[in-house]
């Protein structure tokens, strides 16, 4: 009797979490639909799906306008929507992992200095015109530089951990902050010597936009996100254990230092991939896990996939809004505008502690 009651309670709680995740995914796909049809360039709702279908079937239009519409739907909006979902999911997942591993509600994927690194890389490419692989210019050069420099802070943390036996989560944050100081200083210095043009380019890059997604680079983002999601779901149990404390973790068979470093490496790689294409889109990694936590609690086995779903939904909805305000805004602005009020709300609501 007790057992069935207990079982039903358990199933109810689990199903609640699953339903939440599914709802998020559904909304994301609806948003994708909206994303394809709405935009500055007006293509009707039905027409856009028609064009999509035609394209898949291999019928290409032969009028100029038809070609343009096909190009817009297929080459601009579709990869952008897919990128939106992939980047949102990736950032959400990384954010959840970071917050759990660092035991800090204000952590996000950029906490350990990744955004400062990527920013420095992009600035070097834009202001100095230098790419780490000589001879490449333009957008690919920005991507490569941003990617490589985004990884440096994590390398510093790993280097530190090989010197000291004990690497606590606060230490990781602090090393991240220290690296961030130095990188930001270098970036500021470069920006001082930059011309007006370059300074503006650097600024626009750092706001974060999904517009640069196309069929060449969207695969990287999708693969990186899938890589991150799979690995974190596998690590979810261990992360759960680490939330308690280092000593309990050891007693339960989890090496906290190694686990932390592993999480750091995965977050760095995934985030670096995403950031180098889109710029530093903020808040998704910070807010998604928080909102999810309010609804389904802190169990990482559900938190991580649900953060992915919520993050995807959040980013693609933000992008729909961003693209349709005036002649379009970078999505980073919209996510930033969401972040502030959400935090204030969380603040006022601060009753139960979810930690």
């Amino acid at each position: 009797m007790e057992r069935t009651l207990f079982k039903s309670m358990y199933y109810k709680s689990v199903s609640r979490k699953v339903i939440f995740a599914v709802v998020c995914v559904v909304i994301a796909f609806i948003a994708l639909g909206l994303q394809l049809s709405f935009g500055y360039y007006d293509v009707g709702f039905v027409e856009s799906y028609q064009i999509l279908w035609d394209h898949i079937c291999g019928n290409f239009p032969d009028t100029d306008i038809g070609l343009k519409k096909d190009h817009i739907i297929w080459d601009l909006r579709l990869p952008r929507s897919l990128a939106g979902m992939a980047v949102g999911a990736g950032l959400g997942v990384c954010g959840a992992a970071m917050q759990s591993t660092l035991k800090n509600p204000l952590a996000d994927p950029y906490t350990t200095g990744i955004s400062a690194g990527a920013g420095l890389g992009a600035t070097i490419s834009i202001v100095l015109g230098v790419c780490l692989i000589p001879g490449i210019v333009g957008q690919p050069s920005i991507v490569i530089d941003a990617f490589v420099f985004a990884l440096i802070p994590s390398l510093v943390i790993i280097a530190f951990s090989s010197i000291r036996r004990k690497v606590t989560s606060s230490m990781m944050i602090l090393i991240g902050i220290a690296v961030m100081y130095v990188f930001t200083a270098m970036t500021t210095f470069l920006k001082l010597t930059a011309s007006e043009d370059s300074l503006q380019d650097v600024y626009m890059w750092s706001v974060g936009t999904l517009g640069k997604a196309n069929w060449d680079n969207v695969w990287f983002m999708i693969l990186a996100t899938i890589f991150g999601m799979v690995l974190f779901i596998m690590l979810a149990r261990r992360i759960n254990v680490m939330i308690t404390s280092d000593t309990s973790a050891v007693s339960l068979g989890v090496d906290p230092k190694r686990c932390r470093l592993l999480v750091l490496v995965i977050v760095s790689i995934v985030t670096a991939f995403l950031v180098s294409f889109t710029g530093t889109i903020g808040f998704v990694g910070l807010v998604a896990p928080h909102m999810v936590r309010i609804i389904i609690g802190s169990d990482n086995r559900y938190l991580i996939p649900a953060s992915a779903a919520f993050g995807a939904m959040m980013l693609i909805c933000s992008d729909v809004i961003a693209r349709n305000i005036g002649t379009g805004l970078p999505v980073g602005v919209i996510t930033a505008c969401i972040g502030g009020p959400v935090f204030l709300y969380l603040l006022v609501r601060q009753r139960k502690s979810v930690w």
Partner: protein, 411 residues
Amino acid sequence: MDKKVIAVVAIVILVIAGAGIFLALKGGDSGSDEYRSDDDTGRLKIFGNADNNDYLDNDDVKALQKIIKGEMEKTPFADANQDGKVDSADVDFVKRMVNREKMTIYYLNNDGVVKSAHYPETTLSAIPNTTLALMKSIGATNMIKAISGGNYDKTMFGDLMANAEVISSSMTTLDLDKALDLKIDCVVVDYSSAYLKDYEKFEKAGIDVVRIDAAGGLDSLDWALTVGYLCGIESSSQDFVKWSDEVYDDIQKGISKVNKKVTTLAVTMTNSVAGTEGSAYATSVCAGAINLADFPTSKKAEIGDEWILSEKYSSQFIAHTCNYSFSTVGDAVDDLWEKYKPYFKDTDAYKAGHYFIFNSNVPNIIRVAYQVEMYYPEVFADGYASKLVQEWIDKFIPSLKDFKVGRTVSS
């Protein structure tokens, strides 16, 4: 019979002489002493320029006297000594100015503020590079003794850098200590507040800070004249303005022959489509095109933006000014092309082969020339603009004499 012959010969001689005098007065393209601009829109922004033309001379004294008597409306630059009224004190003031005496005079800067200056300025500094380029064009190269740090195009400014000392580490600042040591008495600077933020200190130290707009459209001619006057090099600055005016007239004549105007969008920097308040907009209109931008401040055309693909902004041409340094030739231009084309490759203009990038590091009138060459090839032959650049270099920038101009690239 002889008398008739003599009479005929005399008449012929008279006619020829008359025709000769007539032609001489009309002025050819040489003989700058004969040339006199008749612009009266007040390009010379010096107080005392009472007749609002390009010159400060006895005509201004006469105009002042007319204003005092009430025969003429008061002009913006009539109050020469800035005491609030137009009276005989101003007449005396302007007479001293006409004598080119060493004195304090007043001018209007780009922000519309009345400023004082010592006439004549002798030792200059100028920031940033657009201002320097203008100073070179008006012949002030030898007066510049200090420049700021930052990346300078060595080809263009090589001679300047040989004469002048670098006195700061970034393009937007100047070191006051060094400026005082070098006895700089005037800094010519771009109007943006990012440049020379500590200008008040400079002014307190007795250094005039002249804010101008060198990069903008045809306004830069105003500053060519004004700065030329302040530095006492009027004849070379007037040469430059005269040349610009002639090119402008030539272009306008060509445009008047065109039947149908083309539509265009003007782009500056990486991807800023100029709005109606921007100088690039004015330049494109000057080139006889219809600019489709209907927003006031510039809008960015990011990769993936759709607004630039819509019918409303679908122009026939897209004119993108780029900062070619004078070291940018050959492959470097291709690099620029690679950098900028992703932003516009989906537009109709690009697909029709009408998206082009061209050099912005030239006087504004040549930027107009680059555009008309692309818009109206039926009137302006291929190479029209490059020829003008060569002319400009030959006349005003001798240090670039052996230089080959960076080409315009189009899709």
